[in-house]
Point group: C3
Chain length 489, copies 3
């Protein structure tokens, strides 16, 4: 099936959409896979990868460029970025490389493959919390225990419940779906295919598109959660539905809040007329209200072509505060590897149980101010200074008050552990496996989070009745009552 | 008002959209109803029913055909499918037929009316769980009791609550809204209309578009929940919003899960450029990601025009497992009439209270394997074999673990009934009417379901914090605590 | 920077979109603000305000008119409605007027500014509950106390929780986000701007787009929650996402219900082909299913151009019942100022604690019948009389049964207060600050509401498992159990 030495011209093979020349290797792939996996191939045909060569991409003015390499690698310069250009990249580094029709193909394309054309984006992403999402959860004993408590199988006998550790499949289907699995080769399987018998590697943790996936080439992260295979559409990455894949639940209701915000309302009502593909992205011309990407990631210019904010793939580069996932909101961690953090109590948490930040491990006020200013540049393109100041005052007040409400819940919980209403650290037991403990967790993981997201993004009822302050205040009373019931003689 | 013998040409009456000739009877209807019910008429004008005759429909190549009859009934061959063609069909079988301006009109158009042009679809649907949705709920004493417990009116005196049976209107507004009501003629009412005084039948259970509606002609089901009146648009039936009408709540969060899945994200971001009207529906050409219909119902072909899966209106023909609505996930029932089922304990349930399947009443492994293979043909058009195998391994693991978590909750509940914390079968009391019993029901009806849907359709957080494993594990602890509180002296 | 006496022609400055002449004052604004706030300016450029003069607007036939003034004020007749035309209006009445580049500019544009061109709409809105949303919440001691209980900060010591009054920022971020804040000048701030040092007023409660905002000119309400700045698009106001900004949470799930209704499903599937900008709005031609605006606000005509319903900005003019926010559903209040209401117990509530309406303060049966008839005119354009009657019978039955279920919960709560399980009025304590009290509130504020909205708008599962009857019936049992736990020795 291998065909060499023949440069297939895309325009001939794929007359409808592709215009860039296809490499002979990619042509070989397409010969079979357009029949076997027509969905993948047709997606790719619609992609920019199929239509433009790297040489063309690099001729564009700096602000319009979608690649960040400085020199064109000769082998890739004049062909479409097709199957072979990615799935044959760095074969020796890929544990999942296998012999396939005369080629050394690997299954999982990783940031280290993408970096040849997009080095700046990959580097930024690697210095970002999201690329560390697997380790930050799994290698932090507090959080790993939380995952086990959520996913573990419980049995009951004589009114005593027993946890047994969850299996790998359950974790992959739960927390690691978004955080990322460890994808490793676990063996080889022979399959009967339409092309005859063939051998394929068997991968653990596959499929997975988690943002912090541990890849078979040792790299961390994945580009495909946002730049969806095999079209890699910037339009899709810029639309909020992409973020909603992981950021909609009660633990991180960013998308839910956005939907009911004025920004989200404009997106839902008017975005059929916006341009989500233009680079750079011009506010007022291409769009009239921000999506997630506008504020947090994209390169934005004003109608005069002046840069409002630079593109970043460090998702928290414009964020002074981390408002989700941890017990208290706090300044963003210094290092993307948060397993390094130790609070005064020796726990791998960025705050004490009573809320004070572990100052050595989080960004300082100056860095916070800088990040706030960058984000506010986006706000200020459409809102007056008084508006923006008022908004931020309110948001930072919400950070303080939600932290206070979490502290109160935590004090009740501490009393609960002390009084034996639940077993905690002193009994060498999980902090997360009993009903009253779960109520405490919901205080910060659901209700304080929702309240802060609603405040940050002006999501109205998400700060009140839709998982907001209503629950924040009710939950304290329920916690107190539950403790009373548990300790009643 | 009756006009006969005159064939009105649609193109003259409705020059903007309709092109097929309208029958004299339909023309009579339109004369008045375009003034009285302009919304209905304009919808119909935009429909294919108004634009093509049966004769034309049958000339199409087999894969493009939207009708499944084999011979053209003379009377319908060359006219548009208008008001009269449906509302005057089978008048003698329709209990709701009434004299109206010289015609024997019936109000409720049913599958037995639609079958003249769409016999294959109606037959498939009739052998399908959904067409039996009324009886499967109402004629199953366990489930009927659940409905009564949910909908019943409670009063309180001396701290004792009393249930009184819910009224017919409440049931119609609640469970039977989706499951279907019994629509029967209950009398006649004279109304002052713009056309003068007129008599109309009064129908019980009306309005209703439930999928298992019991119709005045004795047929079961309705086509209009998905093929919305009076446009009957295939575009709308294929879009996921149609399914969300019944499949979004915590008991069956299919749409909610889809929305945050990669498939749903692509739909939300890119589907403005897809073609939802083409028959057959070509993957890669007409659409780039599946909607509900793609995987479960539609005829799908690949870009070469080869059939990937045949069309079916038996909604579970591609489903090996039933993952919702019952206490445990189990192989699909053999018969669409599930009231026939008896488990070993004699209850009309497809599993024992402890989870084992009632094997005589559910499909066997071979049938399960066949259905799985059919569904996987859709997956494999865009995903590699390893991907699909990995996904299914994970999903079937979720079925096992969620069943285990339900078993644990059930054991606590059994203890509760035994210890008198709640009144159950032994006391001849409902299993569903006390607080602790409701917690038990939520374990399987909400949390186990959500977890399985999230796993089946890759819906991320719906398997964790959004009604998934977080609640599945927390609920067991709350059940145990609640039992402790209830039994404390 | 001030430039006078020169009439700038919009078509020259803004060739792409604006066609109306811009006043010299607005031209001055645009000179700087198109650079400083390009997002605002580009939004405005796309607006009708930028494209048509009042003189042109008044030439339209009555049904097509979007303005309701009778005489053209000379100064505004022939210029675009630009920055200056609104932000310089009524400077002497505006507490927030400040000197800015030679102009007396005010920040907050209010209904009293809009009234010059839209007097009918402003007047209707002023006689509407929504324009009183601030006072109706804040000046009603029962409801103000509810807000305090939700938003207050709790601390704990020796297992006793203490409330401290919430700060102004929290209220603004919570209830008042939708209800409206009090916007007052609190001082002046000098800011370094790109134009040099400038003074600006500092406003309390800013930013805010609440529907009952108290403005610096003394007026009540805001037009911008629905007519979003600075495009003021009728398309956006008519789309349901606008209403979802405030009407989606569990306390008022109108949008959530709409989404899963047949109407909402048609909107989601088909509205890409509808015309949301036409005035008047023609059913069957411009749209095939209603949005929120269709039923409650818009001027609707049939395809013959006959008026089906007149436009109203009194949002409850077509509503016989108030089904949300209060303990029991009841006929709509007579006056938009509900602080005037006193029930027999002397409380500022439109019903007794046991459900009977405070008849002197709510509309009578005749007015209810009139409003029902107006709303039903919309229904009847697409549905038969039997359909509409059946629907309304069911909806008004849901009002009765949900009120009954609330009464039962209230009786349990009254027993709870009596037995000391919670502190209430007798102890001069809040009715809303303890766990059991919150359960009682959820009965009416969440579950009864959701059930009624689902019934009113045919939202299926929202009447059952999605915050509907499932919770309504379960909550009574939980309330009874909680009371038992609280009062156990």
């Amino acid at each position: 099936m291998r065909r060499t030495g023949l440069l297939m011209v895309g325009a001939l093979i794929w007359p409808l959409s592709a215009t860039a020349a296809v490499s002979p290797e990619t042509s070989d792939c397409l010969d079979c896979h357009r029949l076997i996996h027509p969905g993948i191939v047709s997606e790719w045909e619609k992609s920019r990868h199929a239509k433009a060569t790297l040489e063309e991409a690099l001729k564009k003015p700096s602000l319009e460029r979608r690649v960040s390499l400085s020199e064109v690698p000769g082998s890739l310069a004049r062909v479409a970025v097709g199957c072979a250009e990615c799935h044959l990249m760095n074969p020796e580094k890929h544990g999942d490389t296998f012999d396939h029709e005369g080629y050394h193909v690997h299954i999982v394309v990783t940031p280290d493959d993408c970096t040849i054309c997009h080095p700046t984006e990959v580097k930024q992403y690697s210095q970002n919390l999201m690329s560390h999402a697997y380790g930050n959860l799994w290698n932090n004993p507090v959080y790993h225990n939380l995952a086990d408590s959520v996913n573990g199988i419980q049995t009951v006998a004589d009114m005593e419940t027993t946890f047994k550790g969850p299996d790998e499949q359950t974790h992959a289907d739960s927390c690691l779906f978004c955080h990322g699995t460890v994808v490793e080769v676990k063996g080889t399987k022979t399959r009967d295919t339409v092309m005859g018998e063939m051998d394929f590697p068997v991968l653990s943790g596959w499929p997975n598109q988690g943002v912090g996936r541990i890849n078979p080439d040792g790299s961390m992260g994945a580009c495909t959660p946002c730049h969806t295979r095999h079209r890699f559409s910037i339009e899709m990455a810029r639309k909020p539905h992409t973020c909603s894949q992981c950021h909609k639940g009660p633990d991180v209701p960013a998308y839910a809040v956005y939907q009911v915000s004025k920004h989200g309302s404009k997106y839902s009502s008017l975005s059929q007329d916006w341009n989500f593909s233009a680079v750079p992205w011009t506010l007022g011309k291409d769009f009239d209200a921000p999506t997630c990407a506008t504020c947090h990631i994209s390169l934005i210019v004003n109608p005069e072509g002046e840069v409002v904010v630079e593109r970043t793939h460090g998702m928290s580069d414009r964020l002074p505060w981390r408002i989700m996932g941890l017990i208290y909101a706090h300044p963003h961690p210094l290092s993307p590897d948060t397993t390094l953090i130790r609070n005064k109590a020796g726990l791998p948490l960025p705050t004490e149980l009573t809320g004070e930040s572990a100052m050595d491990y989080v960004i300082d006020k100056k860095e916070q101010d800088g990040r706030r200013q960058v984000l506010q540049r986006v706000c200020l393109a459409c809102h007056g200074s008084g508006w923006v100041e008022g908004h931020w005052t309110r948001f930072e007040n919400a950070i303080r008050t939600t932290n206070e409400m979490t502290l109160t819940a935590t004090k009740i919980m501490l009393t609960g552990w002390e009084k034996g209403a639940a077993k905690g650290l002193a009994q060498n037991d999980s902090l997360f496996n009993e009903a009253i403990e779960r109520k405490w967790v919901e205080q910060w993981l659901f209700f304080a989070n929702s309240t802060r997201f609603a405040s940050a993004m002006m999501g109205a009822d998400y700060g009140v009745f839709a998982n907001g302050r209503w629950y924040l205040s009710k939950n304290i009373q329920e916690l107190a009552d539950w403790l009373e019931f548990k300790t009643k003689e």
